[in-house]
């Protein structure tokens, strides 16, 4: 192969992701047009999703799934952040050197389990426990949120761990030499030093939680109503798409694309924020 051709091909491949991103945005935007024209920005606040009798028209709004997505993500973050920090601290500061590898492999394997497995396991083994403890149906915001937390935990813990590991050992030692306890060293030296990485990991995990589909589909209850308690069932954008996308037509289908567009834009924004702002890569 000619060097020039090789170089051009590689450039072409490199721009592929750019074209994919633009392509996804363009397609979603085009197909959402009908719904955008019908509902505009009110779509965000309409709390109805009802088809007409003939299945073509109807009133569709994103409020319920949008709120469901945000709340389940919020619960997931509330559960996952302290756990991930704990695991990262354990791996960087506490664990005996013999334990570090097996524990981090175990945590990483948690990320390897397919999300559908989380869903199935969660439905049959975790939901009943939540029902026992907190009442409700078993499937709802809380169950979905906690399982979601377990799923994003490995990402958060891994990136946080890497960030914490960049803290120079001598900096930690000098804090110990001042008479600081381990927790104080972590709080006053390690965390501030690796702040950007930690925040980046949190936002990245947030992005993942927003778009997670299969596990939530099993566990959130899939009801088109806003949850008033954490044990209530509700629905999220990815779950609505998974359940109802294939049966939708016309205006409803267009509204589905509108929802997908919203999800895509939001997660794009969240992940970009994490990548461009907090996890800027040094030029290695």
């Amino acid at each position: 192969m000619n060097g020039k051709v090789f170089r051009r091909l590689s450039l072409l491949s490199a721009t592929l992701t750019l074209f994919l991103l633009i392509g996804i945005f363009a397609i979603l935007f085009t197909y959402a047009q009908q719904s955008i024209q019908a509902f505009g920005f009110d779509f965000l606040t309409i709390d109805q999703w009802e088809t007409d009798e003939d299945g073509y028209g109807g009133v569709f709004g994103g409020w319920i799934p949008i709120i469901g997505t945000l709340l389940s993500t919020l619960i997931a973050m509330a559960v996952a952040i302290p756990l991930a920090m704990g695991i990262a601290i354990f791996l960087t500061e506490i664990a005996h050197s013999n334990l570090i590898r097996p524990v981090s492999v175990a945590i990483e394997l948690l990320a390897a389990i397919p999300s559908i497995i989380y869903g199935m396991w969660g439905l049959f083994y975790f939901a009943p426990i939540i029902q026992e403890l907190f009442g409700g149906n078993g499937v709802g915001l809380l169950t979905a949120g906690i399982v979601l937390a377990i799923m994003i935990l490995p990402f958060m813990a891994a990136i946080t761990k890497d960030a914490m590991n960049t803290t120079p050992g001598v900096l930690k030692e000098s804090a110990y030499a001042m008479g600081a306890t381990k927790f104080e060293v972590i709080k006053d030296v390690v965390m501030p030093y690796s702040k950007a990485g930690i925040i980046g990991s949190i936002i990245l995990a947030l992005g993942r939680a927003l778009g997670e589909t299969m596990a939530v589909a099993f566990l959130i209850g899939s009801v088109m109503s806003v949850a008033h308690k954490v044990t209530d069932s509700t629905i999220s954008i990815p779950v609505l798409l998974a359940n109802n996308f294939s049966e939708a037509q016309d205006l409803q289908l267009s509204s589905m694309y509108y929802l997908a567009l919203i999800l895509f834009v939001v997660s794009f924004a969240v992940i970009s924020l994490a990548k461009f702002y907090f996890l800027r890569r040094g030029t290695k």
């Binding site: 009802e50 299945g55 029902q131 088109m224 109802n244 294939s246 049966e247």
Partner: protein, 333 residues
């Protein structure tokens, strides 16, 4: 790079196999007849080696898939009116009759013990009665110890003919319920499942829940089901006999593509929530339609036993003949 060689070989093989079995009929839609279609397709495949691939996703999906011509036939439990069929260029005929039970999961309450009056059903599904020991439920169940626990109502997450037929019945007892393929009511505690099996799984999984499912799912799972008060004020246990009594009140004619909802039939012994399920065919696809009708022709001839075993009511012989005539008339037999 032996890895690459393996992949190349695998893909080469898959391309070679590509054309092997394209002779397959695809259907999607109603999950209400899912179990019987599955039995039929399996037996049909073993008898004739012809493949019919039916995915029970829900009536909404069935209508939409066949309207978009993504499948060779669609299944729906809510029949389409002639003008819509014309607009979407579809043919329609019924395939089998089934019924909807109200199944529940209450500790200590066995199958058929719970009696639900029309008022009680309305109260449960409108959210007016939110505890099991509510007066409206308790008064017909003097012998039962109903718990003071909140009622979880299990509904369908997707657009479905089961919901359509159930809301059709609800609407007959209380016109404030809207007939719809999606649940639009706001009971206090709802949980939704995808397709009949999703709802049934939720009922199994969640204590103190009640939901509407197709009878065959009840049988297959041994879920308890309630006696329901019919139009004549009698409490009726869901059985094949009570369904057959109800099915007699169906009136089908080929003129309107068999459009009919059995709904809330008359008759002292009729079970009140009985419904037929329908097949939709794209008018222009004569070739595949012939294959589809061949399948249903086979099912009408040889599938009654399987249907009855699963808790469905086969169509009356006269109706089957009408349908065969309809096929011939449309030149798709």
């Amino acid at each position: 790079m032996t890895f690459k060689k393996v992949i190349t070989a695998a893909v080469a093989v898959s391309f070679a196999l590509t054309t092997v079995n394209a002779d397959e009929i695809k259907g999607r839609g109603a999950s209400f007849p899912g179990p019987v279609y599955q039995a039929w397709t399996s037996e049909y495949y073993n008898a004739t080696k012809n493949q019919v691939n039916y995915t029970p996703t829900g009536s909404g999906d069935g209508i939409s898939s066949v309207s978009k011509r993504m499948v060779d036939f669609g299944g729906t439990d809510s029949p389409l009116k002639s003008e819509i069929l014309k607009k979407s260029k579809l043919y329609m005929f019924p395939s089998v009759i089934g019924s909807i039970t109200l199944s529940y999961n209450i500790d200590g309450v066995k199958d058929g013990e719970l009696k639900l009056s029309r008022a009680a059903i309305a109260a449960i599904f409108s959210g007016k009665a939110s505890f099991w020991d509510d007066e409206v439920i308790a008064k017909d169940n003097a012998g039962l110890k109903l718990p003071h626990e909140p009622i979880t109502v299990a509904v369908r997450a997707d657009e479905s003919g089961t919901t359509y037929n159930f809301t059709y019945f609800l609407n007959k007892i209380d016109p404030s319920f809207k007939v719809s393929k999606q649940p639009t009511w706001k009971a206090s505690k709802l949980v939704a499942g995808k397709s009949n099996s999703g709802v049934a799984a939720n009922i199994q999984q969640i204590k103190n829940s009640i939901g509407y499912i197709e009878y065959s799912y009840k049988i297959k799972l041994g879920l308890p089901a309630a006696q329901i008060e019919n139009k004549e004020g009698k409490f009726i246990v869901p059985t094949i006999a009570s369904f057959q009594d109800a099915a007699k009140y169906a009136t089908w004619t080929p003129e309107n593509d068999f459009y009919a909802v059995i709904g809330d039939p008359a008759g002292v012994t009729s079970y009140p929530i009985v419904a037929a399920t329908f097949i939709l065919l794209p008018q222009e696809k004569a070739d595949t339609n012939k294959k589809t009708t061949a399948f249903f022709d086979w099912a009408f001839t040889s599938g009654d036993k399987a249907a009855e075993e699963l808790g469905y009511v086969p169509l009356p012989a006269s109706t089957k003949d009408q349908i065969r005539a309809y096929w011939e008339n449309k030149k798709i037999k």
